[in-house]
Every structure is written in C-alpha cells, then in structure tokens.
C-alpha cells in the first residue's frame, strides 16, 4: 500500500481568537491535531509605556500603569509608587499603607476570580465565568467607592493614596470577606471535583522548579512547582510582615496546581484583608512629599508580588523629575516565554488549557 502523504499545517491562533485573552497570536504548526511548533507573536498592544514615561513626571506615569495589567491595576500603581518611594526613602502614613494593602489584596482576589472564570470558559464551562463576575462586581463597587473608578484606578500616589476611605467603607470590606469565603467554597464545589475538568488539567503542562527558575517564572507559575517564593514573604515590602498568612504551593507544577493555587491564594488574601481591616489606624493618607519628585540620581529596582508574579520597576534617575529610563518587569511577559516548550507535542485542546493556566494579560505582556 502506498504511503499516505501528510502535510504539516500552519495555523494562526489569534490575534482575534476567543481564547487568547486579548491579542496574542500563536503561529501553530500542526501535524493533524498535534502541535509541532509554536511561535508566540506579541506586541499588538504595545503602547510604548516605557518610552512615554521618559517624558512624564513620576506622578503622571501612575495612570499609565493602570493600563498594563488592567485586571490588577492597584498592584501596578503600587509597583511604581513603591519604587519611587524606596528611591526617595519617603515615609508613608500608616493609614495609607493599610489602605494600599486592602485594595491590593482585593484587587488580587478580583484578578484571580477572573482567571478562574476565564479559564473555565476556555475549557468550555460557561457558568463559572458568570458566577465569578458577581463577586468581582462587588470588589469593583468597593473600588468605585474609594477611588471613583472600576478598572483604571489611578488611586495611589507617591507618598500615600489619593483618597481616604469613605465612611463605612472598611465595614463594607469586612462584610465582603465572609461572603467571598462562601463564594470560594461554592467554586470548589462546582469546579474542583468535576471529573471532566480534572481530566483536562491534571498532569497537563507540567514542569519542575528548576525549569521555572531558569525561565525566570514568578508568582503562581513558580509556586505551582512547589517552590515557595513570594516576595511578600521573601523580600517583605509595605507592611506585609505584620500579617499572618501562608504561601500556598503546589506539588506537580501542572495546570491543576495553578488553578487550585489561585483559589488558595484568594483565601490567604482574604485573611490579609481581614487583619488589615481590623488593624487600620486613623490618620492622614498622604505623607509629606516634595512637590516635585526628584529621586536622587542612580538606578533603582523594586519588585512586588503582583497578581501574576513579580511585578518589578527598574528605573534610572538622573536627578530630574522625570525618569531617565523606566523599565517594567512584567510577569506575564516573562511567564509567557515558557509556553512554546510546554506546547510541543500537545494537541489543540491542551493548547487552550496550558495557555489559559499561564494567566497572561496582554496589556501587560505588550506594555
């Protein structure tokens, strides 16, 4: 019998594709449904934030950070103001630090919620997506009350935060915490035990800690391998050393671990929010800062634990009020590098499962 001639097929997944979470394009070389090679193409959302920042004063850059990881803009805000504050050794009022921690952790929960919804949507389950939006909506309402925005907050300032919490806001957050715990339990009931879901994510896209470190992965993508690395603990910043919380880690480094870690981290974030709401003092929310911010000449780097991994800000100051060079270390961008090697030999269905679990935000990848 004559041998059947087969051909590899080149397929463009994206940039307009329902499940690439934005405008990621994957040039996939397929043999049947088996992936031979993947080339991620990014940059469709490149806005040149780093270039723009060179012509902006430090405070003016803050709104630009909102647009990077638009699912966790509070954390982006913080990454920038924290880097400048460290460079200038500014004192932040206690109340501002607490407010920052509360909104950051709430934002982390909101971001993780959306991950779970979108991931399950990728895997074909529609309902969780709509359930998580209910809870996320409550968080966004809280943000709306504190800073007047739902997505792009522009809430933090170098030296503090822009607005104090309105009366009753802290109580609302405190009421939200037990509600959110119930929701997490519901999500566990709905998803974690589902046999079809487990079959799709267990053992898929697994890698070990050595690979993760070699590829500079951070956040859940690193912790899912069992390596305990969380900047909130390993290099404490802000007031995280005052709170009692754990760093959940995975075991196998597969998609299931990444999924379950998102749920577990939400619980830990709730613990932090709860403690912060109990401890928050009265006082000013804006420290005493110079009108024109001129970090002394030099190079600075500071990283925080963003929702997707280490969110770092490296900037070079020449003593002026604008950064000479500003570089964001975006976790999504770095985490995405591992994708091609994870996808080789998988099929199209796993592509979605693996890509979804990396948890990227294209605004951040392209910056």
């Amino acid at each position: 019998m004559a041998e059947i001639r087969t051909e590899e097929m080149l397929m463009n997944v994206g940039p307009q594709h329902p499940s690439t979470h934005g405008v990621l394009r994957l040039v996939v070389k397929l043999d049947g449904e088996t992936i031979v090679d993947v080339d991620p193409v990014v940059g469709y959302l490149h806005r040149g934030t780093e270039k723009l920042a060179e012509d902006l004063q430090y405070t003016q850059i803050i709104p630009y950070t909102d647009r990077m990881d638009y699912l966790a803009a509070m954390l982006n805000n913080y990454a920038l103001v924290h880097a400048v504050e460290e460079a200038m050794e500014l004192q932040i009022p206690e109340r501002a630090e607490y407010l920052r921690v509360i909104v950051m952790e709430l934002n982390r929960i909101a971001s993780h919620l959306l991950f779970i919804g979108a991931y399950l949507l990728d895997l074909g389950a529609m309902s969780p997506f709509l359930y998580v939006f209910q809870d996320r909506e409550r968080i966004l309402q809280l943000f709306n009350e504190i800073c007047g925005a739902r997505i792009t907050y522009n809430y933090m300032r170098i030296g503090g935060v822009k607005w104090d919490a309105p009366p009753g806001w802290i109580e609302k957050v405190q009421q939200f915490v037990p509600h959110m715990r119930e929701s997490i339990k519901m999500l566990h009931d709905l998803i974690t035990g589902n046999e079809i879901f487990l079959n799709r994510v267990k053992g898929i896209g697994a890698y070990d800690a050595e690979t993760a470190i070699a590829y500079s992965l951070s956040g859940i993508n690193l912790r899912c391998t069992g390596y305990k690395w969380d900047l909130r603990r390993n290099r404490p910043y802000s007031i995280y050393d005052r709170f009692d919380f754990e760093i959940p880690v995975g075991k196998n480094g597969d998609c299931f671990d990444r999924y379950i870690l998102h749920l577990e981290e939400m619980e830990q974030s709730l613990r932090i929010v709860e403690q912060a709401c109990g401890q928050i003092p009265e006082g000013p929310v804006m420290g005493k800062v110079p009108k024109i911010l001129r970090p002394p000449a030099g190079e600075y780097y500071s990283g925080i634990e963003g929702a997707r991994g280490e969110l770092g800000v490296y900037f070079v100051s020449d003593g002026k009020d604008k950064p000479y060079r500003l570089k964001f270390r975006r976790p999504s961008f770095v985490n995405l590098q591992l994708l091609p090697s994870l996808l080789k030999g998988q099929n199209m269905a796993n592509l979605i499962a693996i890509l979804g679990a990396v948890d990227i935000v294209l605004g951040e990848v392209d910056c």
Partner: protein, 333 residues
C-alpha cells in the same frame, strides 16, 4: 383524523396533496419548536447563571428567536472566495434535510397522524441521521478554513464513534420489545413497564452517546469556541448558518423524542392526553441537555474517543448480552 392518514392509501393527487400539506404543517410546527427551544435554552441557562436571558423583543422576550431567525434570513449570503463553491452551498442542506426527515419516524401520540408507521423506524433513524455528518464534514472542508477543517474532522470522528454505542444501546430495547417499530416499542412498554427500569444501563449509554451525537456540552468539541472559533460553521453566515443551527436543534428534539419513546413509554401516561405526556417527557429531556450545558466543561478530544471505544461500547455490549440472556430465561422459564 382520517384526512391526514395517507399511509395506507393509494397514491393519487389527493393523497399527494394531503402528504404535502401534512409535511408543511409539520415543518412549520418544528420551526416553532426550535424557535422556542432556543428561547428556553437561553432563558434557562440565563437563570442558572444568575442572568435574565432574552427579555427585549416581545413580552418576556418571547419573540427573540423569531427576530433572530428573521435576521439570519435577511443577511447577506457570504461565500468565501477560496471556498469550494458548490459544496459550500449544498453542505448545509445536506446537513439539514435528514434532521427533518428523521422526525417522520417518531410517533407523537397514539393516533400519530403525521407519522410514518415504519417497521424499521429505528434503523431508519440511525441511517438518516448519519447523513448529517456528511453535510458537516463537507461544510468544514469546503469552507477552506483551517478551523472549519479541524472542526469538521473532529465532528466526523466524534459522530461516527458515538453512533456505534448509540445504536448498540438501542439494541437492548429492541430485544425487549421484539420490534424496530417505535410504535410497537411504546405499545410494549404500555403492557410491561417503562424500559428505563429494565434497560437502565442501556439508557445511561444512550444518554451519553446521544449528547455526544448532538455535539452538545460536554461533547461540543466540533464547535469548541475557545479552540476552534466556531468549528465547521466558522465561515457560514445568514440562512446557511441558520440551516446548521436548525439541524442541530432539530436533532436535540428528535433525540429527546426518541429517548422519551424508547425509555419512558412515549405518549402513555395516566389522566392527561397522550400528546401532553409526550410533550412533557420530551421537554424533560431537552431541559436535561440545557442543564448539562450550564454545568459541564468540555471534554478533551483524545479522551472523547477513548471514552467511546473503551467505556461506552463495552457497556453497551454487556447490556445486550445481559438483556438477551435474561430474556431467554424468562421465555424459557
């Protein structure tokens, strides 16, 4: 209703007219059924997902589906430049026609005015429903789109694999009733009991295989929108797309009818009229499919095949053997 009982009449112009009239009435009725199935699917899933569902067009959104159908019919009929034109045009029709034709074998009531009382009804159903696969495959191929091609191939593989356990699961029922005629099967259940009880294993296989055969969640791989955009009908729009949708929902209806007739005693039931009983049972089936869709994630393509061949097929075979052995005993004893 003797006016519509043409089955045993000689073929004259009058009979032909009555046949055509009956067919048109059934077609319109089915269009209504599909329109309101869509409406209820969106409403029910909306409620399950804490949403409202359609509520704009007409009272309670009741005319939403009709508006959707009208929109689809009014749309431009786009044929991609690189597509295989004749195949592209004919594929939706190939997919749609069998879905309508299989309804002919389903008895809706005891007097079943429009139903062809065929002695090989089940065979007829299985044979015709597999023609739809051709339409889907051709549509995927002719679109000249890689997503469509993958979707078409996937659905061909899936529907062929699941057709076998589906047919096998029906064999148990056929053995018990001793007939391929659905009317006879319903009658046999009236005398004995609903076949869901003796044929529970068969029913399980049937419902899983039916879901897969319908390409519905969790087996909706051919149209897995997160992977393949829209699968085989990615390139279709307007009324050709409507044909595919119509075919899909008609099959949901047909399979629900089949399930109700084979396992739940069809139109039989106390107090209420037969057609109402049948409608209730069919609705319950349809609701079950919607419910699944709101609950389940999608199964993976390789697991799907393994599941069919390694789990469903052996189970169906076991069911056949058990049924035959028991039937032999009962008859002998």
């Amino acid at each position: 209703m003797p006016f519509f009982q043409w089955v045993n009449d000689a073929l004259t112009w009058g009979t032909l007219f009555r046949m055509l009239l009956g067919g048109i009435i059934v077609l319109l009725f089915l269009l209504g059924v599909v329109a309101y199935m869509l409406y209820f699917e969106r409403k029910i899933i909306g409620w399950m997902q804490l949403r409202i569902g359609p509520n704009r067009v007409g009272p309670l959104g009741l005319f939403q589906s009709i508006a959707d159908v009208l929109k689809l019919l009014a749309k431009e009929d786009i044929v991609p430049a690189q597509a295989d034109r004749p195949l592209f045009l004919i594929a939706p029709i190939i997919a749609f026609v069998p879905s309508f034709v299989v309804i002919a074998a389903i008895p809706w009531t005891a007097s079943h005015p429009f139903t062809a009382d065929i002695s090989v009804a089940l065979l007829y159903y299985l044979a015709l429903s597999s023609i739809t696969i051709l339409g889907i495959m051709l549509g995927g191929w002719a679109s000249n789109n890689k997503y469509s091609l993958l979707g078409g191939m996937r659905s061909a593989a899936q529907m062929i694999s699941y057709e076998i356990p589906l047919g096998m699961s029906l064999l148990g029922v056929i053995l018990m009733a001793g007939s391929l005629n659905i009317v006879d099967i319903v009658e046999a259940q009236r005398r004995f009991m609903w076949f869901i009880i003796p044929q529970f294993l068969g029913f399980c296989v049937f419902i899983v295989a039916a879901t897969a055969e319908l390409n519905r969640t969790p087996f909706d791989l051919p149209e897995a929108e997160s992977e393949l955009v829209a699968g085989y009908h990615t390139e279709y729009s307007g009324f050709r797309f409507a044909f595919y949708m119509l075919a899909e929902y008609l099959y949901v209806f047909a399979i629900s009818c089949l399930g109700a007739a084979l396992f739940f005693g069809g139109w039989s039931g106390p107090l209420l009229p037969g057609w109402l009983w049948f409608a209730i049972k069919v609705s319950a089936f349809i609701f079950f499919f919607f419910w699944l869709r709101a609950t389940m994630p999608r199964i993976r393509v390789d697991q799907l095949m393994t599941f069919s061949w390694k789990v469903l097929l052996p189970l169906a075979l076991v069911n056949i053997v058990l049924t035959s052995v028991i039937k032999y005993w009962v008859n002998a004893g």
